[in-house]
Symmetry: D2
Subunit: 127 residues, 4 copies
């Protein structure tokens, strides 16, 4: 998953606005499903929501840069999943994040449907 | 309607990213309804969508600036409305936009519900 | 230039938020320079700014959709350029925009530097 | 610091997109300086950057909601500061975050200038 940095991603400090790295990770998570011709949800009233996250901002990035996002499954439970995202620029780590997602149906935690659960394999790194 | 400019609003050029002025106008339009304790929609599958817009970018704005957005109804039809937005900074016009909104229900144009239609009065400027 | 629609692009109406189409066009314009290993600017205090734009919102798009953005140079002047952007979804036009960009140096209009000027060829469509 | 939720803040899940809560906290931090007629920086090549953050997403919020953001200084060092942000909706906590900011000048950590340092008082909660 490659991310190009455009004007919209930067701020007056001349670098990428901090929350955007967290958005790039969400793009990477969704893309895992899209490229399998799936959606990261199961009907209108369901989907993954973020429960908590811990992020480290290690380096800067700038207009025109190309970043790479990887996703690794750290732990799977019946209704939640813990992922690790790493963002690199020219093979150097500039951002890392641990994030817990909970599957929610009609506003309440719910067992992750099988087809979605199987996508999050614990032994591979999604690129 | 006053808008403060934060880091998220600016880009690496040091000024407010162009599309954000268009977002501020949407905030102003929604706020017209919110401050009347209404929503700019009528049930889940309805709401106003943008049909076209014409925007002029006249001046720059920067981190920390306070902008003011006004909204004026130019023309009302049964299913659409033409509005003019003006954004000023210290009483100087820096942006103007004409925008046509269509009321849509389940993806198709629909007569604007009465309670929403009455809000868009043709003789006042919403601030 | 292909654009995937992620959660961040959509709003509570279930569709892509209107100003995002205008951002996708800016991505496409910047990418024209990036893919030539150039930047759309000439030093810190310069770059293209939007003077005016006229946008038509023709169709909806949704989470997971893939859009295509094309850019065509309509008119070139010494300090400005008029472009036409078209966004399609499965070969159907869903958005079009005419936009005038002015090259600015230290806050004032300035002749477009030669290397940037040459990129905007009038007889091709950038994809 | 009150934040109104507009269309741009929500996503196709019908709720506020997760990274936006982190943006609201940045607005609140910047506003602490703006309302003292200061900027959260000291010249062009300086400012606070985020080093790390830990966020908990406790409740949902929706189009039209009004949120309140508070900021509390947990720890001050010469070049960095640890803050706690809490976001409430109708006095109920829906989000909390610990965030470490480092003051940076020309890309490197630097002692926080006195006038900025004094703003971050350890015994008050900024609202």
């Amino acid at each position: 998953m490659k991310i190009r940095i455009y004007y919209e991603d930067t701020d007056a400090g001349g670098v990428v606005y901090h929350t955007n790295y967290i958005k790039y990770c969400e793009r990477a998570r969704s893309e895992i499903f899209f490229e399998r011709e799936m959606m990261p949800l199961d009907g209108d009233q369901s989907g993954f929501v973020v429960k908590d996250l811990k992020a480290n901002f290690i380096g800067f990035s700038f207009l025109g840069d190309i970043l790479e996002v990887t996703t690794k499954v750290i732990k799977k439970r019946s209704a939640s999943v813990l992922l690790e995202h790493i963002i690199t620029k020219e093979d150097k780590k500039i951002f890392s994040m641990d994030i817990t997602l909970v599957f929610v149906r009609e506003g309440r935690p719910h067992i992750i449907p099988n087809n979605l659960y199987e996508v999050f394999k614990e032994d591979i790194i999604f690129k």
